[in-house]
Every structure is written in structure tokens, then in C-alpha cells.
Symmetry: C2
Subunit: 241 residues, 2 copies
């Protein structure tokens, strides 16, 4: 009986969310109000809310309650459209904020990824990216300055892809992605306004130009509930773009 | 000064782990012992441990302490090798346990994924998969019985890929992947021996045969720290296999 009740509550809440019942501010009524509406216990209600959370339908904010989750962005590594294009193709509004941009020396691990020597000077650009106003991505771009002299003097809120093309005549070639689900590291948490240790998706991109030279490396820290990876693979083990 | 100390502790611990210092049982000394070894406070030590955790170097077990993380499995959706092959290619030992296998009726969502009608009978096979003895993947396979008559009478610890080929002459064609980082749902937690709500990666695979008919759909729930996604994309937006 109890399992049925949880399912019925889930289904009813899902339907009400889908029909726009709670659209104002995107916030659900309090757990107490919801328990009363469903004539159920807090325990059963929380079980139903937990199920909806794991389906990505709602999410919880610390001390603020439950909110309707905006749809996740589909991220297709094979399409390789840049952040703003990807958002716009999906009917969303993208915004980029530059946190800082400076010269730093490459750590051993970064140097290896960029095929440079440890301690070599690289450009580091840290940016925060929003979808429909919500901060979803904290990213650190590391660039080999050899290919992009004076890059730091440009407007860095623009797409780097476009900047590379227009100012340096450089286009992306091969790209390597690794994607690690992991707890959000402490340094990335404040910008995303999420508790450190929350689930996140960490994406490393190593980008090459058309001459197969490694030109930059991005470390992307995503809110876990802001995206999903979507890949269609054809029979031959090749991908359909 | 404090930031330096945390970094130094991280680096020293990383080096000791890499050199095999703690190999026995894979367990780190207690936090108290480690604080003493580094002549530091528990707070600083925990900050260092937290950093190593977010790098995937160590992980925490409830009430048991800190452990050295085994290497993550590289999961390349473009390679499409099955679980056992993927593990063996990476020098790991795979094992599969069948939790149950039965006929169930398709929910609306599942029916849509399988291109069947809601309530239609499907086979559901639930399995637990291990790498080097550790439970890393809880998976639910949903099969269209039309293509696999009497499949439930076979040994289901085998690779389904092989079973399809050998018993039904069916090979995979196009595959669609979606990958969602999300809190581990309650029903998947006990088999993985992880707390419900822990970070996980949920992968849905929709598999077609060479005639482009949808033959099955897998729901994979991975321990977040057991894998990473690795994709190499060529210039044309095509993938290199």
C-alpha cells in the first residue's frame, strides 16, 4: 500500500509540475503543506520528493526548500558547438562572466596535458557560465600563449572559439573529452553557489587545431543537474554528428 | 601559509599512495594518526583529504574511514565493447551477478523508449557488476521479447551481446546513450552498498539491431568514482573508434 502511495504522489506531483501548477518562482509548497494536500505523513512525502529528485524533476536548495528543476542541457561531445550556440539551439539563454584572466605557470599535470614544460607560462581564464540566469558551469581555460599572443587584451566574455577564428585564424581540430562525475571541489563551489562536495560533472577538454597541435585545455565544473550527455553512435563504431 | 600546508599534505599523501605505501587493504591510517604524522590539525588534514577525494585519489566509506580509490574504468561510448571486454582490456577483473530476471509490463516511459505500447510485456533482467570484486554497476536491462523468445531460460551471467549473437543471430546496430550525473536512487543503493543519494552516473542505452529496430534498453547506475567517460572526436565532428 505504501509503495503505491509514494508512486501516486510522485505521479500527481509530476503531472502538476508538467501542467505548470507551481510555475511562479519555480518553488514547491512547503513539505508540511504538501503532506496535508496528500493526506500523508512527512516520511512518505519525503520518499516521493526523493524519487522526483533522483529523476531530476525537482531539486533542493539548502534551507530554502524544493524547486522545479529547469530542463537539463543536452551536451553532445560530437557536435562540438560552443556554449552559447548549444544553449541557443535548445531555446535557452546563455551568459558568460569573466572571473579573472592572467598569466600563470603550468603545474606538472597541466603541462603534460598541453604538451608544454612544467612551470611554462600559460594563460588562465576563469569564467562563470549561466543558463537562463542560473550559474551552471565554472570553467578554467588554459591556453598555450604561443598560439594566441596578446589574447588577454580581448573581450573574454566572447566565445573563445570565435575569438580564435577571427583574431588568430585558428580552428579546432581533434578534441579529447574526459568526463568524471565527482564531488564539487571547494574552489569551484562559491561561484556556482552550491555546497562543496555536491555531485558535479568534471569535464576536461583537450583541444587541438587543424594541424593537430594542442592549443588549449579546459577544466569544466558543471552542476550535476544542469546537463546530460547525449551521444548517438552508428553501427561502425562511428558517431553520427 | 595554510593553503600551502594543505597542498603539501596532498602532494605527500599522493606520492605515498602512488609509491604503494598504504597498499595493504587499501586503507589509509586514521585521521588522528595522519594528523600526528603531518603535525597538523584535524581541520587542515580533512581539507587535504577532501581535495584528494575530489581528485578521485581516495574515497570514504561510511564509518570505516578512508581508502585508496582503485583506478576508474574508461568508458568510451564509441567503442561499444561489452562490460567484461572493457574491463579485461584495461587489465581489470569483471564479474556479473544476476539479481533477478522476469516478465514485467512496460511503464509509459519505458514503452516509449522501446517503441512498444504501455503495459506490453517485456523481459527485465537486473544484474550487479563488479570490477576487481567491488560492486560498481547496478543495471536493469529491458528487452523486447519479440526478438528474444525464451531468453530467460539461458545463463544470464553471460554478456547479453554474446547471447544475442550466438542464440538469436542479432547484432547491435545504432546505439543512443544519455548520461546523467544524479543522486543514486534508493532502489539501486543496497546492491552497490553505497548510501542512497550519493553521486552516481545514470546511463541509459537504447540499442538497435542492424535493421535499426530497437531491441533493448539498459538503465545503468554507476558508482560515480568507478568510471570516467573518454571520447576522442575528430575534426569532422566524427569520432575515432
Amino acid at each position: 500500500m505504501k509503495a503505491l502511495t509514494v508512486d501516486v504522489i510522485c505521479q500527481t506531483l509530476s503531472n502538476r509540475i508538467a501542467s505548470g501548477d507551481f510555475a511562479v518562482g519555480g518553488r514547491l509548497p512547503s513539505e508540511r503543506d504538501l503532506s496535508e494536500q496528500f493526506s500523508t505523513t512527512r516520511i512518505t512525502l519525503r520518499e516521493a520528493l526523493g524519487q522526483l529528485e533522483s529523476q531530476g524533476v525537482i531539486y533542493r536548495e539548502l534551507r530554502r526548500g524544493w524547486f522545479i528543476a529547469p530542463p537539463r542541457l543536452a551536451y553532445d561531445p560530437l557536435l562540438r558547438s560552443h556554449f552559447h550556440a548549444m544553449a541557443e539551439q535548445q531555446g535557452r539563454t546563455a551568459a558568460t562572466e569573466v572571473l579573472d584572466a592572467q598569466r600563470v605557470s603550468a603545474s606538472a599535470r597541466l603541462a603534460q596535458r598541453l604538451a608544454m614544460t612544467e612551470g611554462a607560462e600559460v594563460y588562465r581564464i576563469r569564467r562563470l557560465r549561466r543558463i537562463d540566469g542560473r550559474a551552471v558551469l565554472y570553467v578554467e581555460h588554459y591556453l598555450n600563449p604561443q598560439y594566441f599572443p596578446e589574447l588577454l587584451s580581448f573581450d573574454l566574455t566572447r566565445s573563445l572559439t570565435t575569438l580564435y577564428q577571427e583574431e588568430y585564424g585558428i580552428s579546432y581540430g581533434r578534441v579529447g573529452f574526459t568526463m568524471l562525475p565527482m564531488p564539487l571541489p571547494k574552489f569551484a563551489a562559491p561561484a556556482l553557489k552550491v555546497a562543496a562536495g555536491s555531485p558535479s560533472l568534471f569535464i576536461t577538454r583537450i583541444n587541438r587545431d587543424r594541424h593537430d597541435r594542442i592549443i588549449d585545455c579546459d577544466y569544466e565544473y558543471w552542476r550535476y543537474d544542469a546537463l546530460y550527455i547525449d551521444v548517438q553512435v552508428r553501427e561502425e563504431g562511428q558517431a553520427s554528428a
